[in-house]
Subunit: 226 residues, 2 copies
Amino acid sequence: MGDSTRQPSQRSEAPVSPPVQRNGPAQRIGRAPATTHGELSHIAITLFLERGFDRTTVDDIVAAAGIGRRTFFRYFPSKNDLPWGDFESLLAQMRAHFATADPHRPLIEVLRQAIIEFNRFPEEELPHHRNRMRLLLNVPSLTAYSTLRYADWRRVIAEFVAERRGELSEDLAPQTIAWACLGLCLGAYEQWLVHDDADLLALIDDAFGTAEAVFTVADDPAGVRP
Amino acid sequence: MGDSTRQPSQRSEAPVSPPVQRNGPAQRIGRAPATTHGELSHIAITLFLERGFDRTTVDDIVAAAGIGRRTFFRYFPSKNDLPWGDFESLLAQMRAHFATADPHRPLIEVLRQAIIEFNRFPEEELPHHRNRMRLLLNVPSLTAYSTLRYADWRRVIAEFVAERRGELSEDLAPQTIAWACLGLCLGAYEQWLVHDDADLLALIDDAFGTAEAVFTVADDPAGVRP
DNA sequence: ATACTAGTGACACCCGGTGCCAAACGGAAG
DNA sequence: CTTCCGTTTGGCACCGGGTGTCACTAGTAT
């Protein structure tokens, strides 16, 4: 440690109240953490965008963050995890959305709605979100790794679909639908990254519309909507 | 080299005809290769199924194959590539299929057909194919890596769809449809791996049917077919 | 002061992957 | 048989991501 250029983010900001016990959440005990997930992630993403993911080593990151290499791997299990935010809690939200969904709305509509909500971010976070997604969708090692994360996302979808259809979440239909939904999302994200002015949620909505149209066998030979 | 327990597969098998020039394809020149892709792949897959992918090191594989570690990486760019066959030539076949498809058949039907053909394997290869796919879909590092391969597969689909719809292959609809098709396939494969008696091609066909049904907004609240 | 504890970071090590280069091999030409 | 030439091999050193271990640091509580 002992590096400069670092802001321990929380502790060092308020020399206002001396070592007086704050009534806040549970007095810390033991040595103070050297950094935070958010700080590390931010530093790393900045470096990734500057020099590229592969040309940025973990040693570069820990040097920039002023922490030890071993410590880094206690905050993130792998370099690939750096661009990911708190995915788990987003999944929990989506599960909640499904749990409270009107059982009379058509399945496809509930899915469309839930997935759109899953991808709704406050406007001020959009630039950051775009940066993260640009990395995740363009850097091969991250693209590969993200598949493992998406598996959890798919499971949430599949479980809901299975419940609706009275099947098991491992059955063909729930699995297939979950895969297809993932595909729709990623297609929309790719468009979003290419077109700076596009609205992500509208793109997702469009993607669902496209799927609806294509998977409905029409008389139109080209498979295009009337 | 100088190891024992190895079968150089081709050369050493026919001491029938001495150093006589065979009219076959182009007399080799230079040192003879130590092994083949097929042999390496076979040895490795066997080890993977026995001891697990992660617990099998590249050193284990090269020891079993009786080649040098450096040589291994000239045959396969990475350990992850071992379970993959000649994917490129399969893609070429699919491209050809699309090229000769009846322009009056509905898009979705052409896709369904092409994808089914893509996954048609001779009966005697099915056990091997199942082994490979079991690895690819169950081992995390392979699952992750395969995403990069699937990207090529998706491109073939997207290019065909784009041509049919008079769009660019980077546009939303082609990308989305390609993603969805991939999802359908993987869903079917997962089922196939779980149910030993299942017919892969029928499962893929079913998957397309499911998608068709779900993505058609019905009056049925549960989103199930009538 | 002392004890306790969460967190840190140095070290050695494993594994996948790469650049480099000398040596092995095998056919063809002298 | 020897020499030349082209291909392939495989040893070596090195890099980067990731882990197990362990002593140490820096806080709180007594």
